[in-house]
Symmetry: C2
Subunit: 324 residues, 2 copies
Amino acid sequence: MNLRSLREREIIRAVRREFSGETGDIVLGIGDDAAVIQSASRRLLLTTDLLIEDVHFVSSLHPPYLLGRKALNVNLSDIAAMGGRPKFALLGLALRRGMAKDDVTKFFLGFGAAAREHRTELIGGDISTSAKMSISVTVVGEGKNPVRRSGARPGDYIFVSGTLGDAAAGLELLKKGYKLGRNRRADVLLRAFLDPVPELSLGLALSARRAATAMIDISDGLSVDLFHLSEESRVGAEVYLARLPLSPDLLSFVKKPEGLALHGGEDYKLLFTVNPENLGIIERLQKKHKVYWIGETKRKSGIFLTDEKGKKRPLEIRGFEHSA
Amino acid sequence: MNLRSLREREIIRAVRREFSGETGDIVLGIGDDAAVIQSASRRLLLTTDLLIEDVHFVSSLHPPYLLGRKALNVNLSDIAAMGGRPKFALLGLALRRGMAKDDVTKFFLGFGAAAREHRTELIGGDISTSAKMSISVTVVGEGKNPVRRSGARPGDYIFVSGTLGDAAAGLELLKKGYKLGRNRRADVLLRAFLDPVPELSLGLALSARRAATAMIDISDGLSVDLFHLSEESRVGAEVYLARLPLSPDLLSFVKKPEGLALHGGEDYKLLFTVNPENLGIIERLQKKHKVYWIGETKRKSGIFLTDEKGKKRPLEIRGFEHSA
């Protein structure tokens, strides 16, 4: 809304050169009042996230290149959780006042790299400066058979698409001063937090085969996101503690990993439910994708955790309290 | 990304009830990983804006109901400037920590009222809390014949769709302690700033009749936005100072209104160019819409201002420096 500074106009020009647009589906890209797209499908998926410095990320812990990647990838993860294919992105950005030009460039390079990897085109946005950095990303995707959170039925099998708790452990390590590139096992955890990968290919495969009855991505943590899925589907759930997939990297750093796996958040794995009749499809997908069975949905409401000794207790629905 | 507090979940539930969705074009509204829409058209317009407290707005000056309206309406103004029709909106919101529940409600009521007025449906979003309020709005619109910034040709007539400088004068009054509802003339200026109206109907009419060669909305101020239009169209421009439309309300408060009219910004009027052959269309539109002729585009680059005495000088391209 305010006059754009010369520096901001310079950035807009550079971004416009980099993300050229106006090929194929893009009738009009960056640089007008609105972008114009020509979609192959009339059915579109839309998702938006607003990330704020010191609320959703900490700049001193997050290299700008990886922050650019993550800002896009967490939105692509929402498209993955619908079984969709991302097509376009819009970026609203408030740069930190006095932010180094090099850091701004790295942020855009990271955003651009993630966009290219997942065939998503930046078509527009908005840029300004503020005391804290704010990043708003909107992604438009296509998806013929979107997988909702609400389709699970009692007796469905519950799966997750990768190990849990790695991202939360990575954040703990970052806070302790760990850096990338010094320890192979630590790097796995740090990367899980700093550079999560949206599970687009698995999401698409599940949607195309109509194999998942309900799906959500794990952003808040298994307990909270399973609660969302259960609530929307009006089913209960039972999770087996011994089945939670834990990485050897997590186990090498954390003595009691259960809390991180259940409540850690930011793993951006897919959590989905499957009708027992379709387990064959999952077995075939397991040849290409990591898919772990962790429990079942139930007719009776409530989410329960069954421990190694077969003892069942209500699963606490909460995020992980990270140490300050 | 973080666990949502109970309060945030409560707000999401209330918003979801209010903006029910899943009618007609909305296959899946608020509450899943992404919204699913079914568009009547394959050609879509997309625009996004990120508004940050103390950068783009000041909460103590902006009543939350009007802030909610403005947050949506400035994005609808971008759709108007393309000659499009808005359809859907996404709202990423970081509430100020400790913000009164009543203010949150008013913000949503204002946003909702503007949405209903302009037949725009809220289909999704993201909510969190932060030290400062941040508002990210994305609007999806339809438009068969989008009007770009780049289509002006030398010799086109330049028009604006209303009086200029009112919003900037309104902001100055707000800073001096003026409040709504005390002075009829002041109210016109205060409302111009606090509650701008997107010129959707005129934008659509210009697009449908293919009457405008180029169009932009005046958000940064006439000089800056005319510069953008000229730059994209690769034309020069001459503006006649005596033709700038000024409201009697502005004239009653400001002795030298030219600076506000040229550089004030936030008026959200349409600035557009018309081939002389199509002046008849504009004359017919003037029966229903306010449209003022202010100058012409030129072959030679550069933007010039001709004063009442016919003296021509380069127009300074800058925003208005508001007193602190």
